[in-house]
Amino acid sequence: MTSHAPKESWNSRLGIILAVAGSAVGLGNFLRFPGQAAQYGGGAFMIAYFVALIIIGLPICWAEWAIGRKGGQAGFNSSPGILGFVTGQKRFRYLGVIGVVIPVVIYMYYVYIEAWCLGYAVNFARGSMNFEAVKDASAFWQGFIGIAENGSALGFGWTRVGGFLVIVFTLNFFLIYRGLSKGIELFCKYAMPTLLVLAVIILIRVLTLGAPVAEHPENSVYNGLGFMWNPNKAVLHELVADEAGGSEKWIPLADGEMVGPRMIKAAEERAAADPKLELRILTMWSQLANPQLWLAAAGQIFFSLSVGFGVIITYSSYLKKKDDVVLSGLAATSTNEFCEVTLGGLTTLPAGYAFLGVAGVAGMGTFGLGFNVLPMVFSEMPGGQFFGFAFFFLLFLAAVTSSLSMLQPGIAFLEEALNINRKQSVAFLGFLTAAGCAFVVYFSADVKALDTIDFWVTNLLMVVLATVQIIVFGWVIGIDRGFEIAHRGAAIRIPSIFKFIMKWLSPAFLIIIFGAWVYNGVLGFSFTGGERSYSAYIKDLFIEPNAVAWYSVGLIALTTGLIVLLTACGNFEKTSSKESSK
């Protein structure tokens, strides 16, 4: 540990707020959130989403800010060092390892996606993104990222990802090398306002689209907003034979959601003419009874706010003793929510719907919506070259501010554990993440490596770390003491009700979420009592073993092993133990 070196710090409160908000604002706000909201009930999803924000989002956020600043006062900036210090127990260092593994491993694939965004922005600016159909946009994307076979992503040129990857990788490490305030903070102070301005410009463009396809007047922004936000859903169901039981059952059609009186009337006529079709109304309450909706909402809060990620705890460790954390945490959270709910929620899905209708956007995942549907939409839109460039440049800025935050925990950890300087830590982390990134890029077929790593890190490790952090805050430190730490220098007070929430509800909610994920996502049990069905990720490992899936899990395990080893050998003893009890 460079104990005699001057401690890095943020230069302003707004700087760290923008940096934390920049960490949180990413592709998830503009692509994942709208897709999840529409898939899980629109308005019903939003109720679960806001409940999750209150019960886990804000509490973990405040806990992380407070714990991080407390650890930073003793000179610790890494998650293992901070958790070991604030609890006064060495074993918590090893739980803190998760706070280094998550950002480092996610960076290995996130920088790859970041390169897609830059590549798309550049290609829109060049005017070379003109597609006649979604399948053309899909074909471009598949060629761009090498989805057809392993090794095919390793190409250079305007329509290949290689050159863009080198640029974004270098940019990230250049900014990280420049230091906390003159690298991350400076970039975020320009990037975040630019991102917001671009998003507002695109929002205005989308909301003024009307019904852009004359042959399909039902495909309008108005109905697109209904598809996104309506709490009750009218969905066309089809009667199909249940192969397992020999009976028949009603299942919703993939593009069966009807929005607006014209579509509903047409669906009713279809159902009247065909006994195997039925239009059913799914009420908001029936959708809220679906545990999968709550899992999705809680998951979105995790991805979105970067809580349980290991980033906030490191960022806040660079604060001074009397710097506010309560208002700063709330401000960073609200910035993310504004980008997600207002800008993301009103833009991407309604735009896709206006051009392609339900069939074009229903069930599209994050990548499908972002890199297949939207490029097609911008191709069709008047002024699409500019708006396409603006949108993907916005995503690129959002991705850079996020990826920078993924590097700082690793930098802080290496400098602390190995007592090395910035040049050495940048070189070490650069080599480690470059090796991991090369693995992800090489195994590009069906984005298998990326997908597998993302699944296990975000669903397993993030929930575990968040649970550890909230238990440390509410139980190990103690909720009263935790509140006292959080309120030092605070510009506003945390409402007292959050004592109960942070001590009882948040840990309970997290444990239930984790249990539900294991029950459904790992063990394959259905919440509705149906047949047991393993997810593709479990099948890839245990049912029909896939080598790339196993390599990907191995990469996570290797990285974890390395960081555990460095933690065991590292120097985390520089502060007297009595400090922890102050």
Binding site: G43, G179, S181, K182, L186, W229, N230, L327, L330, G345
Partner: protein, 48 residues
């Protein structure tokens, strides 16, 4: 878009937009906020 959709959309977007605006206003108007102008030189502990 149904009435319920309008209500949920407006409540959701207006509430987060209001909270965001209030937070930024509060941060910018709270006393004790100091900010130094940045140069473009590198600022890591290495050189100090």
């Amino acid at each position: 878009m149904t009435l319920g959709g309008w209500i949920i959309m407006l409540v959701s977007t207006l509430s987060v937009s209001t909270l965001f605006s209030w937070c930024i206003w509060k941060v910018l108007t709270t006393e004790g906020e100091e900010e130094k102008m940045h140069g473009f030189e590198i600022d890591t502990p290495d050189k100090k």
